[in-house]
């Protein structure tokens, strides 16, 4: 019996930590959606680029926590450039253009990564936070703790930014009513660019932290992105808190499903949860409207 | 007078913390033209959306020809016989005038040939026959509004909801529109018409309902409405006064 409880505790903690990792990837996606009404299907590929950047900096001797601000800033500008050159054009087209356009970007970025870096796996040498921490019967990797803290800080910071700053208020105004925001003198195009930049910056932070525990390769983004889409839909498109809650739910569902049902179908409860939420409460768990 | 074809009682609609409708009552007499007016932000379009089925009301009752339609799916309301136009025109951009009207007619006539024949007739009726090959997005504002009317008529409604069809028209176009409205009434179709400008309704409306701040403040004859103190206050008085009124 005691053993069962130990296993349960371990699964719960691991599931929550996995969920925090998903939250890390998902918050940027949900912000972009909230403001622009666009699901960036290339979000995972932005994550991949950030991971390559963090890996490159690690080779130059900058450990991820040091490289973090650099990658975040670089990804912010990358996001703005992508918006100005590409996403802006998509918004002018039919609604499905944003869906297949960002999907094309996904294929393009994956191909470029494969052409430039080959499909080999790279992970940073002399990985920091490699030790294991024990809390009673529960043990976790130090890297997972660092990543979890990073996820909480990032979610909190983003939430505070959106709620309490001037730009954040303008972003919210755009996300609530585009036309009204224009009438209020907000430059919607600029806000879109800022949102896209911040979305990319978030994923910059996520990618850098992820290098603590994961190798980078061209398809790495795709492995995380599908979960991120589900997380965002569960939590409510556009809701930062929702992304956190959705991510924790997905993490726990996946781990418990894997153990108590069968490992090979551990994603089934996650996707079923998505379909059920979409059917019953399309605005998501914490979504408005 | 006969039983009203549409009877709305205590209609409310909440958007988050904003209460857009706070108890709207209105009756629409069959075969007549009823005007729904009110100052900006009074909740006319919201009430309109709730009746048409585009919005789910938060409370209240909407009885159409004896059927409760509050909260019913949008397309089902159309099947019951309520057609509508939009304040900001919503054309099917890539369709020709004929195709867009045919789309409406397909509701009662599943075969495209039959629906096209009906659509041709309606386009002649609204005066768009010679433009039936043009794309919806290439029309003038006045013609786009006519197209919306044609599309709504194509579902052969009992009740036609018109949302500011007169707005933005030149005086001559307005006159033409009035002629069209009379012709529609002559076909036995009831009209509920939202207008911001009261003068437009005066000559044609049999009754008007005035709403302000989400409530019905006046029901009756159009000429009486302009003399009603509550209506005058709502339109001219300070906003604060309207809220208390």
């Amino acid at each position: 019996m005691e053993q069962t409880i130990d296993v349960f505790a371990q699964l719960l903690v691991s599931g929550l930590l996995a969920g925090l990792l998903f939250a890390l990837v998902a918050v940027g996606l949900t912000l972009v959606y909230g403001v622009m009404d666009v699901v960036n299907f290339a979000h995972g590929e932005f994550l991949m680029l950030a991971m390559y950047a963090a890996f490159g900096l690690a080779l130059l001797g900058l450990q991820p926590l040091v490289a973090l601000p650099l990658v975040v800033i670089a990804m912010f500008f990358f996001g703005i450039v992508v918006y100005r050159l590409f996403i802006r054009r998509l918004l002018a087209g039919p609604p499905e253009a944003t869906v297949f356009g960002t999907f094309g970007l996904l294929v393009l970025l994956q191909g470029l990564a494969q052409a430039l870096f080959t499909s080999d796996f790279f992970s940073i040498p002399n990985r920091p936070f490699a030790q294991t921490l024990h809390f009673g019967s529960v043990s976790v990797g130090a890297a997972a703790i660092v990543e979890g803290i990073g996820a909480l800080v990032l979610t909190g910071a983003l939430f505070a930014f959106v709620e309490y700053t001037e730009t954040g208020r303008a972003l919210r105004a755009v996300s609530e009513d585009r036309i009204a925001a224009t009438l209020m003198g907000i430059d919607v195009g600029r806000m879109n660019a800022v949102a896209f930049g911040i979305g990319a910056a978030c994923v910059g932070a996520a990618g850098t932290l992820l290098m603590l525990s994961y190798p980078v390769y061209p398809r790495v983004g795709a492995d995380f992105a599908l979960t991120a889409f589900v997380v965002v839909a569960l939590g409510g498109f556009g809701s930062v808190q929702g992304a956190l809650v959705g991510a924790l739910l997905v993490g726990v569902l996946e781990v418990f499903g894997g153990f108590y049902l069968a490992p090979e179908i551990k994603m089934v409860p996650v996707y079923l949860a998505y379909l059920v939420v979409v059917l019953v409460r399309p605005q998501g768990l914490l979504g408005r409207r | 007078m006969s039983e009203p074809i549409l009877r709305v009682r205590g209609l409310t609609k909440q958007f988050g913390s904003l209460r857009a409708l706070d108890g709207v009552d209105l009756d629409v007499t069959a075969g007549a033209l009823t005007g729904l007016i009110g100052p900006n932000g009074a909740g006319k379009s919201t009430a309109f959306g709730c009746i048409a089925g585009a919005l789910k009301p938060s409370g209240g009752s909407i009885l159409f020809a004896g059927t409760e339609i509050a909260g019913m799916a949008y397309h089902r309301v159309a099947h019951l016989g309520i057609g509508r136009t939009y304040q900001v025109v919503q054309t099917f951009a890539d369709m020709t005038v004929l195709e867009a009207t045919t789309t409406g007619a397909l509701m009662r006539h599943p075969r495209v040939v039959d629906a096209t024949a009906v659509a041709e007739e309606i386009l002649s009726f609204v005066g768009l026959a010679d433009k039936r090959r043009q794309l919806g997005r290439a029309l003038t504002i006045a013609d786009k509004k006519r197209l919306e009317v044609a599309r709504a008529l194509a579902i052969e409604p009992q009740l036609l909801l018109l949302d500011e069809v007169m707005a933005g028209l030149t005086p001559r176009e307005s006159q033409a529109a009035v002629v069209l409205l009379r012709a529609i009434l002559a076909r036995g179709i009831t009209i509920l018409m939202v207008e911001h400008v009261m003068e437009v309704l005066m000559p044609i409306a049999d009754h008007v309902v005035v709403i302000a701040a989400g409530r019905t403040i006046f029901t009756g004859d159009a000429r009486a409405a302009v003399r009603d103190p509550a209506v005058i206050e709502a339109y001219l008085g300070p906003r604060a006064a309207a809220l208390h009124g």
Binding site: L11, S14, Q114, I124, S139, E254, V255, P263 | -
Partner: protein, 422 residues
């Protein structure tokens, strides 16, 4: 519209000016061998290495420098007037239907006398079907699916051991260890990625384990693109196996190793099927945490103890392919071309029947291969039954060959120390 056309033209120009790999031209009569490889698509990187390896083998046969390998330095095929062999490559895109089309093209248009390929088991399956229909010998140097040779085909020959043989190696190793070190192993956990590779390995392991009366306490498939394996590892831990048999690609192998450590999964040994566990990233990422893992390998430079040409061929290959070392796939494909050239030479003819007969009579001693095999000799199904893998253990962050004992360079450490004591 014009912009679109211009973009398209620019794209076409851009890739028409890129250098395309040249096919080595030879003088005199040529004997065409068709090679089907995944040159684009998801396995393109491996395909490029295999192409370079086969071209190296082609040059070995056509060249004059002799190595202790069949046909190397023969200046073409002596029995056919020193005719040069010429490989004609066709792209499978890693897709079964394209592999089939490639085989048809090579046979009907290029009039090749034999086919070699096609790396992934699914493409080998369809390409060899075509060869069977046209009656052209098909030599498969590197697909491991244990069913490929059991289809009753007349024209199919496979030099490489399949998963069944590889997994028998594990159990032979365990038996040897029982004799040598008196170890006691009863309960096994099988963990595998649910793709073609993992499923094939795991099925073979399960079958062999049953044959040798081991108890399988857990059999856990998982998707290779998972990002989290706590549930799987908890299941393994609860099953209390003596040995874990694991088949993974790199990212998932790292997840498992980290989780084994974090959850203190202490077993006697972890036996892995190459792939992720021999990727350079495995050691680079895990450092000393990777120590004591056993992995099956197809090839190792340690084979130089038996055939001194191994390091030389490795050098030649590095020169051709971005300094990449010779590995299990490339070494097997070099052997494939050499075996085929040897058979055509002995056939003294390019007639399919003659080549097939010569292939059936192939008998190359293990010392004349790059591989740890005892010999190359096909059984009635066309399978070389003398193939084997080797087993390496990571000791002091280096892969050391420890089995078969004949080519071993280090003593194995068994059991692996508990995670808490490392």
């Amino acid at each position: 519209m014009r912009r679109l056309i211009l973009t398209g033209l620019a794209a076409i120009l851009a890739f028409s000016t890129l250098p395309s790999a040249s096919i080595s031209a030879a003088d005199g009569p040529e004997i065409k061998i068709g090679s089907i490889l995944p040159l684009t698509g998801s396995s393109a990187q491996t395909g490029a290495g295999l192409k370079a390896a086969q071209q190296l083998a082609e040059d070995l046969v056509n060249g004059h420098i002799s190595y202790p390998l069949p046909m190397a330095g023969a200046r073409g095929l002596p029995n056919l007037g020193h005719a040069h062999i010429k490989l004609i490559f066709a792209d499978s895109q890693g897709k079964p239907d394209q592999a089939k089309a490639a085989a048809e093209q090579l046979i009907t248009q290029e009039k090749v006398v034999a086919l070699i390929g096609a790396y992934t088991s699914s493409t080998t399956a369809t390409a060899s079907q075509v060869a069977e229909r046209y009656g052209i010998p098909f030599l498969n140097p590197s697909s491991a699916n244990p069913k490929l040779h059991l289809r009753g085909f007349k024209w199919f020959f496979r030099t490489t051991p399949h998963d069944g043989i590889f997994s028998e190696n594990f159990f032979a190793f365990l038996a040897d260890m029982k004799k040598k070190k008196n170890i006691s192993v009863k309960k096994l956990a099988i963990v595998y990625e649910d793709g073609l590779f993992g499923t094939g390995s795991a099925d073979a392991e399960e079958e062999t384990a049953k044959k040798f009366n081991y108890e399988i306490v857990a059999k856990i498939p998982y998707s290779a693109n998972t990002t989290e394996v706590t549930a799987e590892v908890q299941k393994i831990k609860a099953a209390k196996p003596d040995v874990i048999l694991i088949t993974s690609y790199l990212p998932d192998s790292l997840l498992y190793m980290k989780a084994f450590k974090e959850q203190s999964v202490d077993v006697q040994a972890i036996l892995a099927q190459d792939a992720g566990f021999i990727d350079p990233g495995f050691l680079r990422t895990l450092g000393k945490e990777a120590n004591f893992v056993f992995t099956r390998e197809v090839f190792s430079l340690d084979i130089k103890q038996r055939n001194k040409s191994v390091p030389l061929i490795d050098q030649l290959f590095r020169q051709r392919f971005n300094n990449a070392p010779l590995d299990g796939n490339t070494a097997r494909d070099i052997m494939g071309v050499l075996v085929l050239a040897d058979a055509i030479n002995r056939a003294k003819s390019t007639q399919p029947d003659a080549i097939r007969t010569a292939l059936q009579q192939t008998d190359i001693p293990g010392e004349r291969t790059l591989m740890p095999w005892t010999r190359i000799k096909f059984d009635a199904t066309g399978q070389n039954t003398f193939g084997a893998g080797i087993i390496e253990q990571i000791l002091d962050q280096k892969y050391e060959t420890i089995w078969p004992f004949a080519v071993s360079v280090k003593e194995p450490i068994w059991p692996m120390p508990a995670w808490s004591k490392r």
